[in-house]
Every structure is written in structure tokens, then in C-alpha cells.
Symmetry: C2
Subunit: 333 residues, 2 copies
């Protein structure tokens, strides 16, 4: 029997925080006590969990007494300010923000890929990777084990849930405004997202890539322990609510096989193949909505690069891309 833990969720009222609660419940995570934390603005709200009403408390540096595992889902600045306090109080922090991901003393973990890295959490902090990176690597890691991954060229189709509850609300509001012939307001995104796609996710960096695109490069290298891995990524926001899709050309050391790849996915945890062109089968974002597993389809030989496959991977951004992965890390501990 597993020992029940005192769990804290920071950012419990956000989209990812809510999903973390759903994952803890569905996976019957053994909980001795549940502390829900948020900013002063959201403190005082009541959240129902397994039949009990829990009052959300204001996050302070003294919020973590007796907490075993603190799941942070409240943005980078909150993590930078409060994660050290949680760790100092003896909690293991699992941080969904990008704040600590590239810190050498902080493991960056996808439980199906590098669970052993959890042993190296010398700061008491473990980082949850970027959502597009997790979903892409769920497809690429099983292939890497077989063929040896050399490079990734990826174009993403990212859901608005990646911008949190306000991204979801903005897409919904814009669609309503268009239906009513009213003026469209863009606050979360730099321009209209309804019936449009936006080739910019996160801020631009000096090399003209966005921060999101460089996360695919840097986080993939760290998670896979492949410091020489080459990655070109173009991250694009699309008017989809909560599953990300990624179109990938992946090159390998050894010649990959399409048939074999399908079998590899069918036998790997957390990912499955939905790939049968003769029966028009391929995965779309709606197929993985509210689902744990990522789905891979459109697997075929790349026509430009030798020993490469083209493929299409889809996963629920809020779940495997964030909350589920964090709860799975908590399960390792």
C-alpha cells in the first residue's frame, strides 16, 4: 500500500490546476491532505474534490508546512518566488512553468522517458516540460530507442488551452462576436485567433525563433540526454480548444520502417498509433481531447532526408501536455 501524501496545488483555480485535481482523482492518487493555493484574488473560492468542499487559500511563503508534494501551475514568476519556499519547507516541487526547466540541478521529466532523473532533484524541484515538447517526444522517444534520433523538423498546431483559461475564453468570445457581427477584441493573442492561425507562440528571441520553438530544441536535448540533437521548430497557434498537433520530420541513425514504427507505438505506454491510410484513419485534436494517451498517425518515409520518417502526433495539451505529466511525476516520488 502506498503512503498517502499531503499534496498542495499552486494555481488551483487555473485551467491546469483544475486538470491536476481531475487527474489526482481519476488516478486515485493516495492523498492524506489537499491544500489548494492561489493568488489573493482567487483565495476564498470553494473547490469540490472527492465529495469534500475545499476552500482555496492565498499563496504565501508559509503555505507549505507539512506538504509532501507541491504542484505548481501558476506561471514562471510565481514559481521563481514561491518554489524555493516550498522546497525549504520539505516539499518536493513539481513545477509546470518554464522557470526551472533548464536549471542543471532541476530534473526535467516525462515519466515514460526519463523517470530515473527524479533522483537528481537536489534543489527539491522537478520541472514539467513544455507541452509541445512532451507531446512530440511521446512519439519520438520510442522511435529514438529503436533507431537513434538525430534531428527534428517540426511545425505545430497548438490549441488555445496553452494560453490558459483566458486563451480558451478569447477564442469563444471572438466566435460569438463574429456570429453577432460585433467587433472582435484580441487581448490574449496579438491578432484574431478565431478562423485564423498565428505563427507566434511566446516571445521572439535574437535568432528570430520564438522562446516556445527553442524550448523544443533545449528541452528535447535535456530530456533525451542528446546534447547534439538538432531541432527546427515553427510553433503556430490554431483555433482548437485543447489538443496540440505536431507535424514532424524525424531523422535517425538507422533506417526506420513505417510498419515497425506502428507496432512500436501500439506497444508503448502513453502513446498509440492511429494510422491506416487505406481506411482513412489518422488522429485529429478532437480524438485526444480529455484523453491520457497521445496518438500518432500519417507515418511515412520522408522524401527529403535519408533515414527519416514524417509523422503527425496529437495530444491533450492540458492533460499529457501539463497536468497529467505532473501528476505522473508525483506518482514516481
Amino acid at each position: 500500500m502506498k503512503e498517502a501524501k499531503h499534496i498542495a496545488i499552486v494555481g488551483a483555480t487555473g485551467a491546469v490546476g483544475e486538470e491536476m485535481l481531475a487527474c489526482l482523482d481519476q488516478r486515485a492518487f493516495p492523498i492524506s491532505e489537499l491544500t489548494l493555493l492561489a493568488s489573493a484574488r482567487s483565495a476564498g473560492k470553494t473547490i469540490s474534490f472527492q465529495g469534500k468542499d475545499i476552500i482555496v487559500k492565498e499563496l504565501t511563503h508559509n503555505s507549505f508546512d507539512g506538504v509532501d508534494i507541491a504542484l505548481f501551475a501558476a506561471g514562471g514568476s510565481t514559481s521563481l518566488e514561491f518554489a524555493p519556499s516550498a522546497a525549504k519547507a520539505g516539499a518536493t516541487v513539481i513545477d509546470n512553468s518554464s522557470a526551472y526547466r533548464m536549471d542543471d540541478e532541476v530534473p526535467l521529466i516525462v515519466p515514460e522517458i526519463n523517470p530515473e532523473a527524479a533522483q537528481q532533484a537536489s534543489k527539491g524541484i522537478i520541472a514539467n516540460p513544455n507541452c509541445t515538447t512532451i507531446i512530440s517526444l511521446m512519439a519520438l522517444f520510442p522511435l529514438h530507442k529503436k533507431y537513434g534520433l538525430k534531428s527534428i523538423i517540426a511545425s505545430s498546431y497548438q490549441a488555445v488551452s496553452g494560453s490558459g483559461a483566458q486563451g480558451i475564453a478569447e477564442l469563444k468570445q471572438q466566435c460569438e462576436a463574429i456570429a453577432k457581427g460585433e467587433e472582435i477584441v484580441s487581448e490574449v493573442y496579438p491578432t484574431q485567433i478565431a478562423f485564423n492561425v498565428i505563427p507566434q507562440v511566446d516571445v521572439f528571441q535574437p535568432d528570430h525563433y520564438t522562446k516556445e520553438e527553442l524550448k523544443m530544441l533545449n528541452e528535447s536535448r535535456k530530456i533525451l540526454n542528446l546534447p547534439e540533437l538538432k531541432v527546427t521548430c515553427t510553433c503556430v497557434r490554431v483555433p482548437v480548444y485543447r489538443s496540440h498537433s505536431v507535424s514532424i520530420t524525424a531523422a535517425f541513425e538507422n533506417e526506420p520502417s513505417v510498419e515497425e514504427a506502428r507496432g512500436i507505438f501500439a506497444n508503448y505506454p502513453g502513446v498509440d498509433a492511429k494510422d491506416d491510410p487505406s481506411n482513412n484513419l489518422f488522429p485529429t485534436p478532437l480524438d485526444t481531447t480529455l484523453k491520457d494517451d497521445c496518438l500518432v498517425g500519417r507515418i511515412r518515409k520522408d522524401k527529403v532526408i535519408d533515414k527519416a520518417l514524417a509523422l503527425w502526433v496529437v495530444g491533450d495539451q492540458v492533460r499529457k501536455g501539463a497536468a497529467l505529466n505532473a501528476v505522473q511525476i508525483a506518482e514516481i516520488l
Copy 2:
């Protein structure tokens, strides 16, 4: 002064046919007579053009007496059946379908790229290329002239207008059904397109690529006269009404420069750069809606392939992807 021509439009009541009329009008194409043709179902409708009401006639093999240029925008089977009759009657056919594109005796033309090919229309038929191919090559041809194109890896974000008026209607109806909580009907697409993306455009071929993806390969080779060009393409339908976007990694013989590429686009007809990361400038599909020019942004060094650029090109599918390009071919004649 240009000699006025007798123009026929086959499929005059469809999305592309309507746009052809708009292009002829806006570009003040010299027209002596205008014959509008459609199936028996649409015959008898009245279309207003430059202040005159024109009755749509039923398309028959005898519809082309005295016609100088016949613009076909009614699908492959109609073109296969009626284009030879039009050519036999002395008209030059400009066909928007894929029926004749790979025929060695039929030139495949993007007027900014290979206008000289119009001389080789030995059958009296000229083909208008695939929309995604036209838009991609509008970005790639000016770079090819400078650096020598070797390969293309592309992922598309294709608007529903590519499926004609019924694609546009299906997206609209699905959004309305979702807003009302009603059941969603998918007839044009294999699954829901509203708030979803579908990684399948046109039918699957034996190599697991779709016909649309192989058009990018085969048509690019023919238009650019580069029989060795390598192309991997993943074509994806997105819930956007009428501009296609394409995320491209293009490799060249010679080392390309990001700054130089921007200048090349700024000075080339039919395409422009909208690319300034420091000011958050990049093109989205809404930027080219109802516009003639394609826009290129996100230009940067590719991180996987040597001598390669990553870039993002956007163009109005109905206009430059179909109707405008056809009318521009007519202007060459």
C-alpha cells in the same frame, strides 16, 4: 491597346468562378463578350457583371463557338469531358482542376515564375497549379533564382475554401451547431473541422502521402523545371475560411541570408515580406484575405539542414491560389 476577348467561365456559380469574375473586373480585363456556363442545376441563374445581368447557360460541347479563352473552374471530370471541346472550337482553355496538370503537352503556369511556358500549349490547354503549390512557390521561386532550390519540407494550414463553397458552408454550419448545442454534421470533411484540424487533404496514395501532398512534389518539379527537386509535404485542413499558410524548410545550393531574402521578397512582384520579429510582425491568413499578394514571414536559418531557411508563407487560396492566377495566365495570352 489590347484586343478585347470573348471569355467563357465554366463553373461560373462556384467559389472560384465567382472570384474569376471579380478578378476580371478589378483588373479591367478587356472583354468583348462574356459567356457564363454551369451545370444544368445552376443554369438560368443571373449574375451581374460590370452593370450587366448575364444569364448562366448550361455547359454543353457546343458552348464554345467564338470563345477566345475558356476558364474552367468546375472540377476534374468536367474539365476532362469539356476542355477538349473548347480547345477544338478554337478557345485556349485555362483549367483550374488537376486533370491536365501533369500532361506533358499541357503547360503548368504561375505567371510570375514560368510565363514563357504558355507558348507550349500544343493541346490548347494550360493548367492552373494546385493552390498550396502556387502559394509556396511564390515564396520559393525568388529564393530559388538567387540560391538554387534543392529541397522542400512543408506543413500546410489549408483553408476550407479549398473545398469550394460547400467547405466554407460546412465550417460555418458546424460553428453554429456548436453554439446552439446541436448535433454536428460532417459531409464535406471526414470529421469535424470546426475547432479541429484534419491532417488529410485529398485521397491517400500507395506511399501513404495524399494526392495533395504529391501535387506539391510533382507540380513544383514541373513549374520550376527541377526534375530532381525533393519535396516532403504534410497537408492539413484548418478552420480558416480562405487563406492557406505553409510552414517551410527550404534547402539551397548556396548559403542563403535572412536579411537578403527579405529584400528579395520586397522587390518581387506578387509577393512581399511581412517579417520583423523585433516588432512582432508576421503574416496570418487574415492578412491576405481578398488580397492579390502572398506574404512571407518568420524567415530564419534552419537549425537542422545546412544552407536552408525556415519560413512561413500565406496567400488567399481563392485568389492567388486559383482565380487570380488563372486570370493572370489569360493576361499573358
